[in-house]
């Protein structure tokens, strides 16, 4: 299981990445992230919504109420152009970090 500090750092990337596939509401977003990371990243309600609101204030995502097929009102989030722009350097940063850690741990184990 990945520690909470790393989880916090990767949360933005995880949210932006799943939203790149299409608009989602909070519950579905959490479910997809858990499913796609095979349970390594798990968003509870308490972790998810403050993060979503913060990202919305930064202008990376935009939430709007929609009525689902079952007639329920749900707030769906979409990536904004600013969010799309943010995703690519964020991916690069994390790839570099994981690459560096991988190299470092290999050296440490040698």
């Amino acid at each position: 299981m990945i520690g909470s500090g790393i989880k916090r750092g990767t949360a933005e990337l995880a949210i932006l990445s799943v939203l790149e596939e299409g608009p989602l509401h909070g519950y579905e977003m959490a479910r997809r992230i858990e499913e796609q990371t095979k349970g390594a990243l798990r968003f509870t309600l308490a972790a998810l919504y403050p993060m979503l609101y913060r990202m919305e204030q930064r202008g990376w995502i935009r939430g709007a109420w929609e009525v689902s097929q079952s007639g329920r009102r749900k707030r769906c989030y979409r990536l904004t152009p600013a969010g799309k722009k943010k995703l690519s350097p964020l991916r690069k940063e994390w790839a570099e970090l994981f690459g560096a850690l991988k190299r470092l741990t290999k050296v440490a184990h040698a």
Partner: protein, 229 residues
Amino acid sequence: MPDWQELVRQSLFGLALDAEEKDEVHAELAAHLEESYESLRTKGLPERAAMQQTLAQVADWQDLRQRIQVARTRKENIMNDRVRQLWLPGLLTFALSMGLLAVVEKFGPRPIVLDLDKGTPILLFYTSWLLTLPLAGAMGALLSKRAGGSSRMSAISSVFPVLPFGVVFLIATPAGLLMGHNLAHHVVGAAFFTMMFGWVLVPGVALLAGGLLVQAFSRQSASRRIAGS
């Protein structure tokens, strides 16, 4: 099944947002809890266990309330950041450079006058003012940097004094052409370029030079700090 909306409302009691925003937050979190609960029930969990597992998503409602409040009101913080990192340093730089110009006009040497064309636009170069501008630009950049501004913010704060001139000239030139039918186009055009050169471009370069110098120094001292730590 509980009334999720009421449960969220009671648990987040004291959330300091306006009524409409608060209702939205309550409705959104309630919908999430309801969906979690129903999903667990569909998986076969008994009512009580599903309820417990659903509510376990929030260990501390007061902590959640605080974090939602901070996240939802961050717009205000961004505004404050912009004021501290751009508007305040920019306006102070503007005030300083205009103050210096007034002093130079009153007590300084006469400006260099360039007569570009007989009876048409004249360019005044207050050399001593231009020499003091890097100082004003450096102050703008320094204030912006100290408030946590990015390199871009810092550079804009440095050149802030020339931005209003640039905007005025950009508006005044087409307006002059439209309104003053008796003005020759080449005169307005020449005036535009000389004004832009004398009041925007040259002072802008002087201001930016000071700003870039501060940025270079702050980068150097940051790398020294990292190396020393």
